[in-house]
């Protein structure tokens, strides 16, 4: 019970104070998890890889995985709820409050300025993701194909990811069987 409470509180604090999602949160999660001996320092790589392998927000997956390691399914639910409750409450308050605020030209102007900052932040994230994705030159056209299919509304992005997943898993599975 005490462990569950600690899990909840630690991730609650994290959800309350951390901006920027995955990249900013991961080092902090690592510190907390190692300090409470929920994982060993050497296991951290494994946590990060699995969190990226599963869909969803990476920081939430991390909470999920660490909770699971510590206390099974109930642990993962508790850690995850701890992390998402603060942002959910904050956004709900803002979303309801903003409905009328969005009519003020000052607020709209502030948001327009902020969007430019968001764009720069995203742009920087895209560059580092690109370095990770394009490890060989022949990979570039594949990204451009998925880009083009969405851009010209031939396929929706969800279907592209779903089909890619099936094709890639199928291909790897087949090449594994033939290589035996």
């Amino acid at each position: 019970m005490k462990t569950l409470r600690t899990l909840f509180l630690e991730f609650f604090k994290l959800g309350l104070i951390t901006f920027g999602g995955g990249i900013a949160m991961l080092p902090i999660i690592k510190n907390i998890a190692v300090r409470h001996q929920w994982i060993k320092e050497s296991e951290w790589e494994e946590v990060v890889t699995l969190s990226q392998l599963a869909p969803g927000a990476i920081a939430v997956n991390c909470a999920n995985f660490i909770g699971y390691r510590v206390k099974g399914r109930i642990g993962s639910v508790i850690a995850m709820l701890g992390m998402v409750i603060p942002p959910m409450v904050i956004i709900t308050i803002l979303a309801i409050g903003f409905e009328s605020l969005l009519e003020h030209p000052q607020v709209v102007a502030a948001l327009r300025g902020m969007l430019i900052v968001v764009f720069v932040l995203f742009f920087q994230a895209v560059i580092s993701l690109g370095k990770l994705a394009w490890q060989k030159w022949w990979m570039v056209p594949f990204s451009l194909i998925s880009f083009g299919l969405v851009y010209f509304q031939i396929l929706s992005p969800g279907y592209i990811l779903f089909i890619s997943l099936l094709v890639i898993v199928g291909y790897v599975w087949l090449s594994r069987r033939t290589s035996r």
């Binding site: 104070i17 901006f19 920027g20 999602g21 995955g22 949160m25 494994e46 699995l50 990226q52 392998l53 599963a54 869909p55 969803g56 927000a57 939430v60 999920n64 995985f65 993962s76 995850m80 992390m83 998402v84 942002p87 959910m88 904050i90 956004i91 709900t92 803002l94 979303a95 309801i96 502030a110 948001l111 327009r112 300025g113 902020m114 969007l115 430019i116 900052v117 968001v118 764009f119 932040l121 995203f122 742009f123 895209v126 690109g130 994705a133 594949f142 990204s143 194909i145 998925s146 083009g148 969405v150 851009y151 969800g158 990811l161 890619s164 997943l165 890639i168 291909y171 790897v172 594994r176």
Partner: protein, 176 residues
């Protein structure tokens, strides 16, 4: 639009958001903006707010969209629907992953998927870029100087993006 449709959309998006927030931005654009349920302008206002508040952007965006469509309960439902697929997958994948995490096949699947995902991420940034270009044409000096200031401060303020966003808000109020 009904609640069941909304739940299904978020289950679908939640099970396909491989590679973090920007993928969710792209997928949710397709669910809400492409069919005309939300304007692009309002969607970007949501993203700006989601990025300026604590928590992962995908979660914030899911809550915001839910509250916008169905009020308080809507936000809870969309966020939980978004979370369920990844939670179940981690429970399912964990035992398999423990045994095979050194397998080159898992690495191969991941790097293959990353290439296709990157195309979907590019969509998000190009679409947003088009909106930003409109802003630059409208107010070239203010927009470009804000971009340059943000770009210069970014390396030092990487872990405190809210300071950059505050600068953006001040710039917006003063010059836009």
């Amino acid at each position: 639009m009904n609640l069941l449709w909304l739940i299904l959309q978020f289950l679908w998006v939640g099970s396909l958001t491989f590679g973090g927030g920007l993928v969710a931005v792209s997928l949710l654009f397709d669910v809400f903006v492409t069919p005309g349920l939300l304007t692009e302008e309002f969607y970007y206002q949501m993203i700006t707010i989601a990025e300026s508040t604590p928590g992962p952007i995908a979660i914030n965006l899911a809550t915001y969209l839910g509250v916008d469509q169905f009020g308080l309960l809507g936000g809870v439902i969309t966020t939980i629907s978004f979370l369920i697929p990844s939670m179940m997958l981690i429970w399912l994948l964990y035992p398999i992953y423990r045994r095979h995490h050194h397998s080159p096949y898992i690495q191969a699947v991941m790097s293959g998927l990353r290439v296709m995902i990157f195309g979907v991420i590019l969509i998000a940034i190009v679409r947003m870029g088009l909106t930003v270009i409109d802003e630059v044409i409208d107010l070239p000096i203010a927009s470009l100087s804000l971009m340059i200031v943000t770009g210069l401060l970014l390396p030092t303020l990487k872990n405190r993006p809210y300071i950059l966003l505050m600068i953006g808000a001040v710039f917006g109020v003063l010059f836009f």
